[in-house]
């Protein structure tokens, strides 16, 4: 995911970390601004980073007044005021960010990084918790009492917030990296490279249901009472919901949205689901009660889609710095090694793992 998408009431942001551009499209005026150009002289002098694995992240605060994203260079967290799109502050991170979210009520910026640490950025950065591998997604409960995190090591974890050192549950069971989580009512829905979606009870950490999809899951996003699921290297977006059947909660796949190009990122604002593909941006509205999903193709919106589409087409994606591609390939390599060993009659543990080519 070297591309990302973020949406608020008044703006759509498309960002590419490889070409180091973050375009804000104003839904009111139709104007476009590249935030990366306004990061200052000092920023321009830093050489572009095209070696490290990076993930583009961007997020609006719940009230839409603040915006934060990570530019390509210098491990920065760039914070913007969205009323006039002026830079509030650039904060320096300890490691590359892999996820940026705002707390729902207090608008504190929470950043997960490649080392596995999660920081809250108020006046000074405070370390909330740490994982022993890269953080891939973060959710904060609506009452801001809990923080849910998932990592590269198959773990989903619920911790107290802000005292994240106190762990409530580990939800164990995924067999590959956990790429996305979201909170659905009183449940946690997690998606993983092992192609499964799992539904967990928030209160006791029990596994309630498991749904296997065609391929690795790349992100999971909540939209009302439903969730939208993005798959790895796929043109489909799945919409799922939780459903009680014979006293048991299940995950039900209610609809598949088919797109013309590979899906790169999803974003949600209110009941709108925005989808970023390699060629364009699409908008859907979701009526969770009646499970109706409508594609928005109004004439008034045509300028929006055309402009966004031109911006997206100017992006270049570099395979070697794409974090999700790296994680996927690493998982496949591991499966192959285990398979080979089983075929050779060896136990499924390698004593001397070959150093992997990290693309």
């Amino acid at each position: 995911m070297t591309f990302c998408l973020a949406v608020s009431e008044k703006a759509v942001v498309v960002s590419s970390i490889d070409v180091d551009k973050c375009y804000v499209y104003s839904l009111d005026s139709g104007n476009v601004k590249n935030l990366t150009e306004s990061l200052g002289e000092a920023y321009k002098n830093i050489p572009i980073n095209n070696r490290d694995l990076q993930k583009a992240c961007a997020s609006f605060s719940a009230d839409g007044k603040l915006f934060a994203y990570n530019p390509n260079k210098g491990k920065l967290l760039s914070i913007w005021n969205t009323t006039d799109w002026t830079l509030v502050e650039n904060k320096t991170l300890a490691k590359h960010a892999t996820n940026i979210v705002f707390t729902p009520k207090t608008n504190v910026i929470i950043v997960g990084d490649k080392k596995g640490d999660v920081y809250a950025f108020e006046e000074l950065p405070v370390r909330i918790l740490g994982h022993s591998s890269m953080i891939l997604d973060i959710c904060i409960s609506d009452n801001e009492k809990y923080i849910v995190t998932c990592d590269n090591d198959e773990k989903v974890r619920v911790s107290h917030y802000p005292n994240g050192k106190n762990i409530v549950h580990y939800m164990m069971g995924h067999e590959a990296y956990v790429s996305g989580i979201c909170l659905l009512n009183n449940f946690i829905l997690s998606g993983s490279g092992d192609s499964t979606l799992r539904l967990w009870d928030f209160d006791n950490g029990d596994l309630l249901d498991k749904l296997t999809l065609q391929t690795a899951i790349q992100s999971v996003i909540e939209i009302g009472d439903l969730a939208a699921i993005q798959l790895y290297n796929s043109k489909e977006v799945h919409i799922v919901k939780t459903e009680k059947k014979e006293n048991k909660w299940n995950i039900k796949n209610i609809k598949t949205i088919q797109l013309e190009n590979n899906v790169l990122d999803l974003a949600v604002y209110s009941n709108q689901l925005w989808i970023l593909t390699g060629k364009s941006v699409h908008k859907y509205t979701i009526d969770a009660n009646n499970e109706i999903i409508l594609k928005i193709e109004d004439v008034e919106m045509s300028h929006t889609f055309e402009t966004l589409s031109n911006l997206v087409k100017s992006f270049v994606c570099m395979e070697n710095t794409n974090l999700m591609v790296f994680l996927y390939n690493k998982m496949i390599d591991k499966q192959k090694r285990i398979e080979q060993n089983v075929n050779n009659g060896n136990p499924p543990v390698l004593q001397h793992p070959k150093r992997l080519k990290t693309a």
């Binding site: 640490d117 022993s132 994240g164 106190n166 762990i167 580990y170 067999e175 090694r337 499924p348 543990v349």
Partner: protein, 256 residues
């Protein structure tokens, strides 16, 4: 991997005297990178692990440990000295050693096998696995399952850049607190003063642990054994080195 010893045949375990493995064949460099992705064999969740492969008596209704689960953990168990000492002291508890170094863990596994064969009905409550305790504790244990945890002579990782590899740090302490029951004890011993201070500082600042005062440790039968049972401990005694002990208790979160 070089073959250092003829592998034991199944029927050999029935023979009268089984020779203990010799340590000289199981030497390995002392340091290991705990953050690298080595291939380990681990369960996806605690329910998925078959403990009877390590403790055959778990399924034996006549045994002391029938249907029990692991309650004591020796993290970085080395050559297994503490496991062997604790086994007769706590016959009703299942004790597990975790060691990241391949050869060293193989030594302990062979050692326990030989001890069990030589003294039937003894040492059935101890076992050792090769794993990375920094990454995989929640894969093996449920919340609040562990009653005692040991860190004897952990790798001091002297260089500042390697401090993140230390077995006690902010991140790992939260995981230990998760698998430990309330009022469970954590024992640490080291011969490195700097590491001792580091461990005391991290445990004290974490919020879910409190230091147990030395006076309260007098009646604890485990404490005496900590100094001498492990191979590292004997080495330090031979060299007349210092030994620093610190014991911590898992406490309830005062914020809740």
């Amino acid at each position: 991997m070089e073959v250092t010893k003829r592998p034991l045949q199944e029927d050999e375990t029935d023979r009268q005297e089984l020779s203990l493995p010799q340590k000289k064949y199981y030497r390995q460099r002392a340091h290991s990178n705990p953050i690298a992705d080595h291939d380990f064999d681990y369960p996806s969740c605690p329910e998925a692990y078959d403990w009877s492969t390590l403790y055959p008596d778990v399924t034996n209704a006549k045994s002391n440990i029938y249907n029990k689960r692991v309650e004591m953990l020796d993290i970085g168990c080395g050559y297994g000295g503490l496991l062997v000492t604790l086994s007769p002291m706590f016959p009703d508890s299942m004790i597990l050693g975790m060691e990241i170094r391949v050869k060293v863990s193989q030594y302990v596994i062979e050692r326990i096998k030989a001890l069990r064969a030589n003294q039937p009905n003894c040492y059935n409550n101890i076992a050792c696995i090769r794993t990375n305790a920094i990454k995989y504790l929640p894969n093996f244990f449920k919340k609040g399952q562990i009653k005692k945890m040991f860190f004897l002579y952990p790798d001091p990782h002297f260089k500042k850049s390697k401090h993140k590899w230390r077995i006690i740090n902010d991140t790992t302490l939260s995981e230990y607190a998760y698998v430990l029951a309330e009022e469970a004890l954590v024992y640490t011993v080291t011969d490195v003063k700097d590491l001792h201070e580091w461990m005391v500082q991290h445990f004290s600042e974490h919020g879910l642990f409190k230091r147990v005062q030395d006076d309260d440790l007098k009646d604890d039968p485990v404490v005496d054994k900590l100094y001498e049972s492990s191979e590292e401990g004997k080495k330090v005694t031979r060299n007349n080195g210092d030994k620093f002990l610190a014991v911590f208790m898992r406490i309830k979160d005062s914020d809740l």
